[in-house]
Every structure is written in structure tokens, then in C-alpha cells.
Assembly symmetry: C2
Homo-oligomer: 470 residues x 2
């Protein structure tokens, strides 16, 4: 067999080698060759320079070059041939990575009333760091390995104490499960319920119905049930044939309604009668400004209600910390589902949050934030009353959003468009209707505004609406 | 209507009130009453004491009692009756939470050779804390809100740099996705692949086949393909009809085989020919003791291979940090799947790890751990050669485990049982076979042992085996 002519001289392989780093020379040579193969500078079947020649060219000992070639042969970039020479492997040559297209995004509006974020600028960084330090100093090694699917004992204890005290739940640490926010918690719950034979999920209409896709994937049908001023219409729930219901009883999203005592009792009775499950999404109940928040329904019927809470509205969404208080029969299947899903939530965050709650920092943070949000809400609602008196806020004084209906001459699409032209993001109810689309309205999220931005936002909205009415 | 007789005098409601705390008196009273209702001490329809009487009994102003009753009426624990009195609501009375049965667990063996954990006692707590402090001091607020499903930019950049440098990957930050360990990453990937029409997953036989349940749930069939000394049998893969394969090419689990250059090229060619996907689970490649680790296959074919890595074997499983390097066409669907799954991984951990990697702390940690694990492995393998020369370790010197076959006179079940009687946990291959069960063998995990425990473990094993051969 004739040996092929070397088509790649050592000169083409002038890899820049640095002697001032701790990276061994053979590794530098390897990366240099790998890179050239990937870039197509060394093509398929190109014969590599003889080790002796390349070593001389680069001022290396031959052993270094041999080591690099051997490594790249083992990795599949080069092939060692019978004649004693080395070629670029065909499969490796001219590997190209495609550039994924950058997602197209329009610039954000100057003032954005989109609901979702709390004011993360107020995240208690110093107090959080104190808790991290304590955890890293004191946590036993055994806590750093795989854990119980329910989460760290310390956090389950801290949350049971906190929720029983502040939210009137009847929680025991054994029944608490820590999850990565409501998104994961509700998904696992719907999967477990579907596997247990539940078939139909009722959701409030209107509501934040992101959960619908998740329910469908889990094999549950979704049905909307109207929200009244007293919370979910229990008679309609009764007729719906649902066996699971998701409610935001303490502060309905988006209407701001609070479930009355009768609604609460009705939900509990409905669950008992039909062996059904109530999922209580207590997403922002910590923020009630006019009175003490209504305690959780879970406290009335802990074996029928799954309580769900989150740090996303109180601390920061980026923490991805949520918690469920489960009926006893769901503890084992949910724990198993969590383990299968991701082997449990990250433990350092859990222990940090446990310390943060146990030391009263969470209460302190909430006490500090409540008046801030209240002032924001007052500024927004006050300016609305002045400038747009026919946009009447409904719902109680709570949370991080307020909703108004629109007068019949306005549509939410037209208002949103005219507002956006003025640099204001304002959002309608359309995405929240489950069944037929209901009347037009607006949802104002004020969690991450300043007071002056809230006022200016209403002014821009007033201007937008005036332009539509001209 | 006759007013029912008060059957619950104020005396029964001697709630212990503390005036030395910041908890308002009406809240203390509320919790006290709630608790008594739950415990069945206040029964359904029990008439509550008149507010005036209870206030006098407890030394409170009447307003405090009224406030507490109103709150509990709103919450559904009490019902306000037309005659001006208040009763315990039937639904609320005698709420009992069932005690979930404690999971039965036998005591752990004194020395446990179960594979999985690294030595978490070596978790670099001080360096980690430095990174947390830096992150909490410097991270912009915008990073604390909901993020791109792929994860924090900082970590995607740090991991692309690290993996390209250390693992020979061809990663760009845009193609990196951060997940909660391999468990979540592989689950999302199989779901996305199933949705894209992939049908059959090939796994190594034997292998850690926890992924099989996940594949089945995602709608993929699983098929086992034999592992040779040169890695996966590519000819058998070809015949299997699979369109996805999961490989541990750098250090096969459990056999310890390393995929040869030919196997690597074969996998790449197979993927190209069948438009198939290779999932490269690079779970412990950072720990190779006899030579530089073989670079990742992903570097050869970044548009056919998904690279998967994890901090579970290098730092601590409790971190739940994993990463995928994705072919470009999978970036968008995987990012969307991650958002739907849990809205992204916790951000503080991501930013902390990014800083930890970028500052070279991760390399430093690995450099420190490699000789420790190597010594452990040497101690274990050395003692095996002395005491049990017919248990011959196979596979390369790498990772946190070693495997041996068993001589024909021994079964893994008998050995495990005799070992457990001596306080030693030792584990067979049975759970790892995918198709037919293969020959008997043992897998020794030494990640979290001490050298003396490794030696003592082998001695106990030798004693156990001697007892079986007597």
C-alpha cells in the first residue's frame, strides 16, 4: 500500500502554545488541533504531520506530540493508520454547529403594568446571606446528599409553623412537600391525581389558566366555573362534574374576590360529598392591606384540601421555592413523583429559606413590604379615580394587582394598543377566560413599579383612552 | 325560634394569651379557638360564649373578641346566627388529620458500598460561600425574576468555557440548558424527543436503568444493547431499530468500559445515517486516575449528540445542578419544556456555581478530590487483590465505583446477604440488566468511604464469601 502524501505540513499546525499557564502543553496542542478540525482547517483524511517534524516545528519534545495524537485518536478526531501515519477522521472533519436564531423580541414598554413580579429590588440580600452563611457553617454533611422527596426536614418544619401561625392552616411537617414553585407543584399534583383516577379539573373563570395545558397533558379535562363576588360559584361547581378544583380563595386572580364563609364551607362540603380535592393556590395572601387575611381553607379540611404557597410573589420568582401541604393519602405518591421528577429540590436553598423563616426574617420582610405595596396600590387606584373614574377597581385591597372592567365603548385590545404607542404596557382579561370570553377589562400589576410610575402609567392610560374616544 | 343553650361556657375557652410577644391578642385568641375546634374540644354546633363574657373571662376588651369571632366566621370555623349568637361550624368541627405511616426502614449497614454519593464532607463550603456573597452583592435585580428556560447567561457561559476546555465539547452558551440534575434533564429530553416523533431508546446493558420508567412514561420504548470492552456494541445498536441512544461513553456504568475511537466514530455515523440522537451521560468523567479523560463524543458531532453533565458526582447531589449541551434544533423545544416544567432552575444557585466555575474553584476542587478518590480506589482494589483474588476488577481507573464479576460458585444475592449479616452493604448487578439477566457481579461504590473503611469492607466481604464456601 502506497503511503499517501502528507497534504498538511507542520506549518499549517502552528498552534499557539503558552508556557505561562498551568495547562500542560500536550493539552494545548490537543485543543489547537481539535479546533482546526472543527473549523474545517484540517479536512477529512488530511494526513497529520509526523510527530517528529511537528515537535521540531513547535519546539516540543516528541513525547508531547505523541501524547496529543494518541488522545485525539482515542477521542475520534484522528485515525492512526497501519503505515504509521495519522489522518483526520472523516466523521470529525468540518463539524459545524448551527447558529440558533435569536428569539425576536420587541423592546419592552417604558412603564409596564404586566402582572407577575414582586419588587425584587427589595430582596433581603443581607439577611439571605446571613442565612446562607449559617447553613454552610452548620449543616451536617448528610444533608448535602439525595434527600426525601418531600424536601429538607428543617424547611418542612419551618413552613408548617409559619403557615399554621400566619395562614391558619393545619399543617404538620410530615405533610409538607417542597417544590420548585407552583409550576412544578401543581404539575406533579395533577399528574398524581390523574394517576389516582381523577378526571376533571374545575378552574375559576376567569383565572390565570396556565395550568390548563398541564392538566391536559396529565390527562385531565378542564372546565371553567364562574367567579362571583363571593368567590367560586359552588352551585356551578356542583353541576360541572369536576372532581378537582383549583381556587385562589383568599384573593382571586384576577378579579380580587375573596371567598365568603359560605363559599368556603360549600367547597369543603362539595369535596367531602364527592371525595374530591380542592387545590388552594394561596399565591399572594400574605399581602392583604385592609384587614387580616382570611385563613386558608385547608385549615378547615386538611384531608380534602391541598394548600399551595410560593416565595415567588413575596421574595423573588428566581428562587423557585414553593410548598404544598398535602392530605395524608397524597404524601407518599407526591413524594415519589417528586423524586422521579428531579430527585428533590436543591437543598442549600431549602435550608437557607428554613433558617430565614425560623429566624423571623420572612415575617420582617413581609411587614416591610406590605406598606410599600399598599402605597403603590393607593397611588394607582387614587389616580384612576381622578383621571379615569369610569374604570372602577373591583376586589379587595390585597396582593400585587388590581382589576377594573372597561366601559362598553372601549375594548381591551384597542386600549392596550393605544397605550403601547405611548410606551405603556397594559393588559386585558382575554387570556384569563376559560369558557366564553367575558366582558372587557384590564389587570394592572403594580408589584415592581414606583409610585410615580404608577401615577404616570395611569396618566398615559388616560391619554390613550382619550385618543380612542375623540 | 328558641335560642340554643350555650353548651360551651367561657371557662372552656381559657386560651393561653401571651402579652410578651408581638402577636396581637386577637390572633392568639383565633389560633386558640381554631386549635380547640380542630382537636374536637369544641364540637359541631357548639354555641360560643358571648363576646362580652369571654372578654371578661380573659381580661380582654370586647373588641378583641369580636374581631377574633369575625375572623373565624370569615374563615368558616364559626357561623354567626340570626339570634346574635355564634356557633361552631359543622364542617370545621373535629377536623382530624390522619397520621401518615412512617416509612419502614431497616438500619443502614455499618459500611455501605452502595454507589451514588461523592464525599460530600469535602464540599468546598468556604469557597461556595465566597461565591454566594459575590452573587448577592453584585447580581442585578433583573436576574431575580423569571428567566429564560435555558438558565442564567452567566452559568451557560461558564459551563460552555469549562466543558470545551476540560471535556473537549463544542459548546456555545446559547446551546447550554441548566437543569435540576440529570434526572430532570433526561426526562425533559425524552419528552421532547418523543413529541418530535422519536420512538425507541437504546440503553447500555447493563446500565443504571432508572431512565427506563421515564422513557416509558414519555412514550418511548426501551431496548438494551450489550456493552463490550470497547463500549456499546454499535452493530447491535444498528440492529436494534432505536433512534435514540443513551451512553456513558467516557466511563460506562457499571462496567467501567471506555468507548474506543471506533465505537465513538460508529455512534456518530449511526446517528448521522439514521437522523438519530446520542445522549452522552458524562456523569463522572472528571475523575479519571490513570490518564487524561477521553473527550466527549459531543465534540465530534454537536448536532447529533446531547451532552449531559452534573454536579452531583463532583460537588454534592443536594445541589441539584445539571447541564445539557443541545443540538441547535432542540434548544427551543427544550427551553419551552423547561419553562413549562418548573419555570427554570433556581437562580441564586446558578449564579453561585457560575462564579465558582469562572473563578477556577471547580477545577481546584476536582484537582483536590482526584488523588483522594484514587487512593480510595487503590486501597479497595489492592485489598481485593490480596483477600479475594478471584474477584477481578474490570474497567478503567476512574470514577467513584469499581465492578467485579463473581466466580461461578457465588451468587450476588448470597454474597449480599452474608455481607449484610456482617454489617456490610454490598450490591449486585441484578438491577442493571435491561434484557436477560447476565452473569453475577458486584458494584463497589467508594465515593464516600474512608480508606480504612474500604479495607475493612473488603475484609468483611472476604469473611462473608469464606462462610459461603465453607
Amino acid at each position: 500500500m502506497r503511503r499517501p502524501r502528507t497534504n498538511s505540513g507542520a506549518g499549517e499546525l502552528l498552534v499557539e502554545l503558552r508556557r505561562d499557564t498551568s495547562v500542560p502543553l500536550h493539552q494545548q496542542l490537543e485543543s489547537g488541533i481539535r479546533e482546526r478540525i472543527r473549523q474545517g482547517l484540517l479536512r477529512a483524511d488530511a494526513v497529520m504531520p509526523a510527530t517528529r517534524a511537528l515537535a521540531a516545528d513547535l519546539g516540543l519534545s516528541r513525547g508531547v506530540v505523541v501524547e496529543a495524537y494518541q488522545q485525539l485518536v482515542a477521542e475520534g478526531y484522528l485515525v492512526s493508520r497501519a503505515g504509521g501515519y495519522t489522518q483526520v477522521a472523516p466523521a470529525a472533519a468540518a463539524v459545524r454547529t448551527e447558529q440558533p436564531s435569536a428569539p425576536a423580541t420587541a423592546g419592552p414598554p417604558r412603564i409596564d403594568l404586566k402582572y407577575s413580579k414582586p419588587d425584587v429590588s427589595q430582596f433581603p440580600r443581607a439577611a439571605w446571606l446571613r442565612s446562607v452563611r449559617k447553613v454552610l457553617n452548620e449543616t451536617p454533611n448528610s444533608s448535602l446528599t439525595y434527600l426525601d422527596g418531600r424536601g429538607a426536614d428543617e424547611l418542612r418544619e419551618a413552613m408548617a409553623d409559619y403557615l399554621n401561625r400566619v395562614r391558619g392552616t393545619s399543617a404538620r411537617p410530615e405533610n409538607v412537600l417542597i417544590c420548585n414553585g407552583f409550576a412544578q407543584g401543581s404539575r406533579l399534583l395533577l399528574q398524581v391525581l390523574a394517576a389516582a383516577g381523577y378526571r376533571r379539573l374545575a378552574v375559576e373563570d376567569p383565572s390565570d389558566n396556565e395550568v390548563r395545558d398541564v392538566a391536559t397533558k396529565a390527562g385531565l379535562e378542564t372546565v371553567g366555573v364562574p367567579v362571583l363576588e363571593t368567590g367560586l360559584d359552588v352551585a356551578a361547581l356542583e353541576r360541572s362534574g369536576a372532581d378537582v378544583v383549583l381556587v385562589t380563595a383568599a384573593h382571586q386572580f384576577p378579579t380580587g374576590a375573596v371567598a365568603s364563609a359560605q363559599t368556603r364551607a360549600g367547597l369543603v362540603a362539595w369535596a367531602a360529598e364527592h371525595d374530591a380535592v380542592v387545590i388552594e393556590d394561596d399565591y399572594d395572601a400574605e399581602y392583604r392591606y385592609d384587614r387580616e387575611p382570611i385563613g386558608a381553607i385547608q385549615g378547615l379540611a386538611p384531608e380534602s384540601v391541598v394548600y399551595a404557597g410560593t416565595a415567588s410573589k413575596t421574595l423573588a420568582p428566581g428562587l423557585r421555592l414553593g410548598w404544598l401541604v398535602l392530605p395524608s393519602r397524597l404524601v407518599e405518591p407526591m413524594s415519589a413523583a417528586k423524586v422521579m421528577d428531579d430527585r428533590g429540590s436543591p437543598v442549600l436553598d431549602q435550608l437557607t429559606f428554613a433558617d430565614f423563616v425560623a429566624r423571623g426574617e420572612f415575617d420582617r420582610h413581609l411587614r416591610r413590604m406590605r406598606p410599600r405595596y399598599r402605597r403603590l396600590r393607593d397611588a394607582l387606584v387614587g389616580r384612576l379615580a381622578e383621571r379615569l373614574p369610569d374604570l372602577v377597581p373591583i376586589g379587595v385591597s390585597a396582593g400585587l394587582h388590581v382589576m377594573t372592567w372597561l366601559p362598553p365603548d372601549l375594548t381591551e385590545e384597542a386600549v392596550a394598543e393605544a397605550a403601547l404607542e405611548r410606551g405603556l404596557g397594559v393588559y386585558g382579561l382575554a387570556p384569563y377566560w376559560v369558557g366564553e370570553r367575558g366582558p372587557d377589562g384590564l389587570v394592572f400589576g403594580y408589584g415592581s413599579l414606583t409610585e410615580s410610575a404608577a401615577v404616570e402609567g395611569v396618566d398615559l392610560l388616560a391619554d390613550a383612552i382619550r385618543s380612542l374616544r375623540r
